[in-house]
């Protein structure tokens, strides 16, 4: 057994069961969202599985629950920020296959700019809440 394996097992052993359970449950939402973003690539199932495992692991290492909540909100904000990219990306990657040469005409558009702004505003909501929670945390600890 390598040092890294031992370290991983040790970290899993030290996980708080309550936090671990909470992480597994709350990770479903970002995992589902990630699978939704990746569906155009045919990666819906893989996206969900990897997203669930990855987010669960990240969240499980956040303690106390307030820390977990802050991280969960930041992950949601990140996924919202990425949404406009995933809206365009499949088209960009397939444009040549479908005979579309004027990529700029489809991608560098006002509607894409507006979409980015709208999703940035949406992302600001969970990010802002996360920030507020983090400040409360800092304040109570001071």
């Amino acid at each position: 057994m390598t040092t890294a394996d031992r370290s991983l097992r040790e970290r899993i052993r030290r996980l708080d069961p309550m936090i671990g359970g909470l992480a597994l449950v709350t990770a479903v939402v970002p995992a589902w969202y990630l699978s939704w973003l990746l569906a155009d690539f045919g990666l819906r199932g893989v996206g969900f599985l990897l997203g669930w495992i990855g987010v669960s692991w990240v969240l499980a290492n956040r303690n106390p629950p307030r820390e977990l909540g802050i991280t969960w909100l930041r992950i949601i904000a990140g996924l919202l920020l990425l949404t406009p990219v995933f809206l365009v990306l499949p088209f960009v990657m397939n444009a040549d296959r479908f005979g579309v040469g004027n990529l700029a005409g489809f991608v560098l558009t006002e509607s894409n700019l507006i979409t980015i702004l709208v999703f940035a505003l949406l992302a600001a909501i969970p990010a802002g809440i996360a920030q507020w929670l983090a400040r409360i945390d800092v304040g109570s600890g001071a």
Binding site: W36, A39, D40, G42, R44, L87, P90, F91, N94, A95, R97, F98, G99, V100, G101, N102, G105, F106, T109, E110, S111, N112, I114, T115
Partner: protein, 420 residues
């Protein structure tokens, strides 16, 4: 011409029948709409008619039309005719070219319509219209119409167009290079019309039908290299909303991703979709081959005008859909009730499991996927706020010669046959 201006925008932006009775809700009551072709005998040949030859007897087609009586045949020799023809007083008139590819009505980018018919039963066949600022051949407010062996290209709105008209037929015709649609049937319920053996390519939309349905069948045709293929749609800017009851059967719908097609904001939101039912109800999409679309092969999507029109009660079955960029079958959210996807041969869908049975499949279909609406809505937004790719309808290529009508010297026939 109000008919040409009647649409605002398509804002977001899907053998005679045995399949279907589809249900619709009207005035709070569920009613049944028969989604089949009208049951008719073949059109009968007229027996008592006069042939009026152009230019042998008349200097222009319009002069022959003006002189004609009911059921006459205006037979046009090969040549280029720089005129707009209006049939407003003589029902059941036939205007026929002797050579589909050599009898050309040319609008020279200044005249509005090639042929306009405002009386019942007018037939136009075996000729070409081009370079009109509005439409190639246009029927409005009539009972009985037929366009056969027509070629329409590079006109400023539609190629072959019937508005507020019933009991009609488009067949064996070709349309390309139109910034709205190649073929259009709008504002009729029931339309009692058949569109078959058509080729529509290089247009903004291959077939568009706003608020048109009821014994309306689009079949056995080719829709290729338009911005979007077949787009029945609901808009409040025309009467008879919502669109309901068109049967789309046995068509080849291929590669509708043409960034060089001309468009006037109508087709761009539907770019890269094969069969796109935008806010339609109780339609049947059956036995089509849909291939090579950058967004969706067959998609049902809500349409926003004054009202939000959700797709509902549509049947998508036994289609072969493949090589789509995002998903072969798609249903946008918010979807209405009772959309069904059955026995299609496809690779991917949005939402996932669109053909799934049981409560989960039903739930997915009753909700739809907001991704689909978001994506097509973004296209609409672009037409509202900025520029979008579009070719110039005046500069699209001339199509190759098309198969002519057999026996162009034969007697004229009615627009459609009598109902059986």
């Amino acid at each position: 011409m109000d008919g040409c201006r009647r649409r605002t925008l398509l804002k977001l932006a899907a053998a005679s029948g045995t399949l279907g009775m589809a249900s619709t809700v009207a005035g709070g009551q569920r009613t049944q709409t028969e989604v089949t072709a009208p049951d008719r005998a073949p059109p009968r040949a007229y027996e008592d008619f006069t042939v009026r030859r152009v230019p042998g007897e008349y200097d222009s087609i319009q002069a022959a039309v003006t002189a004609a009586a009911e059921r006459d045949l205006v037979l046009v020799d090969p040549g280029i005719y720089h005129e707009s023809v209006t049939v407003s007083d003589t029902p059941r008139l036939t205007i026929r070219g002797r050579d589909r590819n050599e009898v050309i009505l040319d609008g020279e980018f200044t005249r509005r319509n090639g042929v306009t018919a405002t009386v019942d039963g007018v037939v136009v066949e075996n000729l070409t219209t081009r370079h009109y600022t509005y439409n190639g051949v246009y029927w409005v407010g009539v009972d009985g119409y037929r366009g056969s062996y027509l070629t329409a290209y590079n006109n400023g709105e539609y190629g072959v167009y019937a508005f507020d008209s019933v009991n009609g037929r488009f067949d064996n015709s070709y349309a390309s290079g139109h910034p709205d649609s190649g073929f259009y049937v709008g504002q009729c319920q029931p339309c009692r019309a058949v569109l078959e053996n058509l080729i529509s390519e290089g247009n903004s939309i291959g077939y568009s039908g706003t608020n048109a349905g009821g014994e309306l069948v689009v079949r056995d045709s080719v829709w290729r290299r338009n911005m979007a293929g077949i787009v029945p749609n609901t808009l409040d800017s025309e009467a008879l909303a919502p669109q309901r009851g068109v049967r789309i059967e046995n068509n080849d719908v291929i590669d509708n991703n043409n960034e060089n097609a001309p468009t006037k904001a109508i087709g761009f939101p539907a770019f890269g979709t094969g069969i796109n039912i935008a806010g339609g109800t109780d339609n049947v999409v059956v036995g089509n081959r849909v291939r090579g679309h950058s967004n969706f092969g067959v998609v049902l999507v809500p349409n926003i005008d004054k009202n939000l029109w959700r797709p509902r009660g549509n049947r998508v079955r036994d289609n072969q859909v493949d090589r789509s960029g995002r998903a072969d079958l798609a249903l946008g959210a918010p979807a209405g009730r009772d959309n069904r996807f059955v026995d299609n041969d496809f690779g991917s869908s949005r939402p996932d499991g669109i053909q799934g049975r049981g409560p989960l499949g039903g739930l997915r279909r009753s909700v739809g996927d907001p991704w689909v609406t978001l994506l097509l809505g973004k296209g609409f937004l672009q037409t509202e706020v900025g520029n979008y790719p579009s070719g110039d309808w005046r500069e699209r290529p001339q199509p190759p010669d098309q198969p002519p009508m057999p026996n162009p010297e034969g007697p004229p026939r009615g627009a459609v046959g009598p109902t059986r």
